[in-house]
């Protein structure tokens, strides 16, 4: 398969976002126009005056990837050239779930034929690991630091796929880079469906989460196997497929990452781990994840 994301990019060794970008492009093919907001992927793939992209790609601002993608799609239609390229937005969780959220909602509401893909590394990594709406409960970041009193992030991860689905769009899916064929399959499927599509792809970050660069895929797999990142597909508002798992306790996922270290070292940490286990149990029940 042709490689559309060139090496020489500035991603950290073991970068999950770079793996996500490669898999997305394998699924989408070369006849696309990609839009990225500010974020790790933008920074690593476009060190001026170079580009890693083998497809037309545009970056404008942090908050407007969905608006730019909407404009590109509308322009293609106005020119009668909508058959020549599919429009993709590939954005981080900060640019999607916080800063670009209103704009994304507008794009979904207006019904643009755009595949919006959020690679989810659960914080603002490129600016120095600040929490985002996608940061999970209990994770220590530079703006939700664990300390004498704090146990890190004190709010649950925002359920962005559910909010996207609430717009009544035809396709919503989650995936993880640890299951590459699933990512490729879902991207391929999404671009073929007409209308707005939302995909959220879990992409572990060795620098921000604190694990060895060789374990990016292993950590991604553990997030799925503990039910902390459920994998499913929704078509026209109904869940149509779920990745079933032989469930592992959340400790197996938490103990291998620096961002959750305080849960094991501080008094009261056990209580917090229990709360995280409850989140996983809730996911397993909601989606019927258990084999």
């Amino acid at each position: 398969m042709e490689e559309l994301f060139a090496p020489g990019h500035r991603g950290c060794a073991g970068c999950g976002a770079a793996i996500a970008a490669r898999l997305i492009l394998k699924g989408a093919g070369k006849d696309i126009i990609a839009v990225s907001p500010t974020g790790c992927l933008e920074v690593i793939s476009s060190p001026y005056p170079q580009s890693s992209w083998g497809v037309p790609w545009i970056h404008s601002l942090f908050e407007n990837a969905a608006a730019v993608a909407s404009g590109v799609e509308a322009a293609l239609r106005a020119l009668g050239r909508e058959d020549e390229a599919k429009v993709l937005a590939i954005a981080g969780d900060g640019g999607t779930i916080d800063i670009g959220f209103g704009v994304l909602s507008g794009m979904l509401e207006r019904g643009h034929d755009v595949t919006y893909i959020c690679y989810d590394n659960e914080a603002y990594m490129n600016t120095g690991i600040q929490r985002s709406g996608s940061t999970p409960y209990g994770a220590s970041t530079t703006t939700s630091p664990a300390g004498k009193i704090s146990f890190g992030e004190d709010r649950p991860k925002k359920n962005a796929p559910a909010i996207a689905a609430a717009h009544g769009i035809p396709y919503v899916a989650t995936a993880s880079i640890a299951y590459p064929k699933d990512v490729i399959k879902k991207v391929k499927k999404a671009v073929e469906i007409e209308g707005p599509k939302y995909l959220q792809i879990h992409a572990p970050c060795c620098t921000g989460w604190g694990f060895d660069s060789s374990r990016t895929i292993e950590i991604g797999r553990l997030a799925v196997e503990t039910a902390l990142f459920p994998i499913y597909e929704m078509q026209n508002g109904k869940i149509t497929s779920v990745k079933k798992i032989k469930r592992k306790p959340v400790e197996e996922y938490l103990k291998v990452q620096r961002r959750f270290r305080h849960l094991f070292e501080k008094e009261g940490g056990e209580e917090e781990i229990k709360k995280i286990q409850e989140i996983a149990d809730g996911n397993a029940e909601q989606f019927g994840l258990d084999l």
């Binding site: 090496p7 500035r10 060794a13 170079q50 890693s52 060795c206 990016t216």
Partner: protein, 85 residues
Amino acid sequence: MKLSIGAVTEPGSTRINKTGSWRTFKPIIDVEACVGCGMCSMFCPEGVVYEVEDKYTIDYDYCKGCGVCAHECPSGAIEMVIEEK
């Protein structure tokens, strides 16, 4: 109206950055033990593990030595060794 072209660059032009110099550990594929499943190639963040006649080879000009390929190889055919430069 004259349109500015902005910062338009050549596709794939980051190839001039030889990120292989970042490496402290180097993956070595044992071609005898390799079963040709391609997971190393699929997971490489740089996309520089290539298939050559059912076996795999690494472009060390760009490999950053993250070790994902060695960690994920189901047949344990990739070893990380200290880089000597």
